[in-house]
Amino acid sequence: MGNVIVVSQRPSDAGELVGLARSIGDPVIVAFQDSAERVEELLSYGYKVYRVKSSRPEVLAKAISTLYNELKPKLIVGPNTRNVKDAMAWVAGLHDIHMAPDVAGVRVEPDGIVYKRGFLSERVTMTVKAPYPAIILVNPRVAEPAPREGVGELIELNVGDTMVRVLEVKAKELSGVNLEAAEVIVGVGRGFKAKEDLSMAFELAKLLGGQVGGTRPIAADLKWLPEDAWIGISGKRVAPKLYIAIGISGAPQHMSGVSGSKVIVAVNKDKSAPIFKQADYGVVADLYKFIPALIDVLKRRRGST
């Protein structure tokens, strides 16, 4: 038993990961960052659940590495979170095994795993074959969720001290917006000169019944938006009907996050900005002049119907 190790960080990722693992072999689950209910859920898939009482990458890495030596699995599957990626890089290095994050599709063959993943900010799709054992971290919706009809066994997994010492833990400020479900998204970039100016974007989004998201520098660097409004390859992937990118240059790392949009509008004052080649409608204009005009036109249209 246990030729596939499933690493689960969130309740939402467990079902699909266990589903994938079951289609390949015989799973055991490693769980962390868990509440009591979460352990209940994980046990209901009917497999052994190893609980690690910390979500720190080095703790997780040590735990998985111990389990790896014991079970000699042919595959480790997990989600693409920062904690898991970091832990698995170390495990992969220690045991010299292949690892691929952001996997968008897998096929199991007798002598190895064949997977697809985005390459070059997803401008290229790469298909790779790697021998067992391997580690793959998969995107959501790659596999069907497993049924919850079993009774698993809970095992505590304790690892000793790590070389790295935690002095303090700080929570991240999140807004709770669900950009993945938004039909209209107004995206803001460094073309905005001050945080207050984002009020224009919020007003526009409100008129269109949408949400506001932004580029990585806006969310992560300047912190003008909470981190869950960060769109792109290292942030959220969104698929609205309408995406309006304002003051955004169109870097591939941002655009891969919005490629699922039905219609993309770009507002940029630089006619040679790369975003215009990746947009359906491009407005060459200073956002400080154009956005108020657009808001006016929309308000008038609203008023007259």
Binding site: Q9, N83, D86, M88, A89, H98, P101
Partner: protein, 267 residues
């Protein structure tokens, strides 16, 4: 306090993706450039070098061929590292490890560090490369060298004797950590604002040594794990209609009209 090693990758440039007529990716003609986040790592090395007081080395493993066609791009990337901060550069260019393989690359980097006697107190890398973006080479290198590893470092706060205090930006929270040296860190884009090297620095760089190595020099025998079966360019077909109007109102009216036709505006 010791030497600093910076891992610098010459990555395929995602902004200039070339395609073959059959839709496959034209890897041989897509240019290489220094991986963006490695500039942040170099900037951090420049900031820390006074405190560390030793030498700064860059290590680069070429992962894309053909070798001869890559010479110029590779040199440019390495020279940026030298201009910015490195005293010496180590470059491994060997046909037998092209195209790259993650296990192989990490083993080669670890071998350069050990066999060339670089003896680092700190190894700095980027969080992810701009071509592969697998977030794994730094963690692998740490495991190979038996050193502590902290990824996603968004700030190096202070050097406290033989320890560093850093902030790590994880999925749901930020940690302040104390890391004993020597250690491997990968930094995020938020760690600093990299400044390009000055003209004087660029001129000085041409006098600094670049050590070109092969696997034979390292006494390494490696086995590649992955085989790339296919690489296909994802085609984006957007309408690319440009609206250029002197009157902002006219431009707005035009845009609204287009969006109504698309059926994505509701009043």
């Amino acid at each position: 306090m010791g030497n600093i090693v910076v891992l610098v990758k010459a990555s395929l440039n995602p902004e200039i993706v070339r395609q073959n007529p059959d839709g496959t990716f034209d890897i041989d003609y897509t240019p290489l450039k220094i991986s963006d986040v490695d500039r942040n790592a170099l900037e951090e090395a420049a900031r820390l070098r006074q405190v560390f007081g030793g030498k700064v080395y860059s290590v680069t493993v070429l992962t894309w061929g053909p070798l001869r066609a890559r010479e110029k791009d590779l040199r440019l990337a390495v020279q940026e590292a030298l201009a910015k901060v490195a005293d010496e550069a180590f470059v491994v260019a060997d046909e037998s490890i092209i195209p790259g393989d993650y296990t192989v690359t990490a083993n080669v980097i670890a071998a350069v560090i050990k066999k060339m006697g670089l003896n680092p107190s700190l190894i700095l890398a980027g969080e992810a490369s701009i071509d592969e973006s697998t977030y794994q080479i730094p963690g692998r290198v740490a495991a190979k060298l038996g050193l502590p590893y902290v990824g996603y470092v968004k700030r190096i706060r202070e050097v406290r004797g033989d320890r560093l205090v850093v902030e790590r930006d994880l999925e749901d929270y930020i940690e302040v950590l104390e890391v004993p040296l020597p250690a491997v860190l990968s930094v995020t884009q938020e760690v600093n604002e990299p400044r390009p090297p000055t003209l004087i620095q660029i001129r000085m760089a041409s006098r600094k040594p670049i050590h070109m190595l092969t696997l034979k020099d390292l006494g390494l025998d490696v086995k590649r794990q992955r085989s790339i079966l296919d690489m296909r360019v994802v085609t984006v077909s957007r309408k690319q209609v440009l609206i250029e109007e002197a009157s902002m109102e006219k431009a707005a009216l035009k845009l609204v009209e287009y969006l109504e036709k698309e059926g994505v505006l509701r009043f």
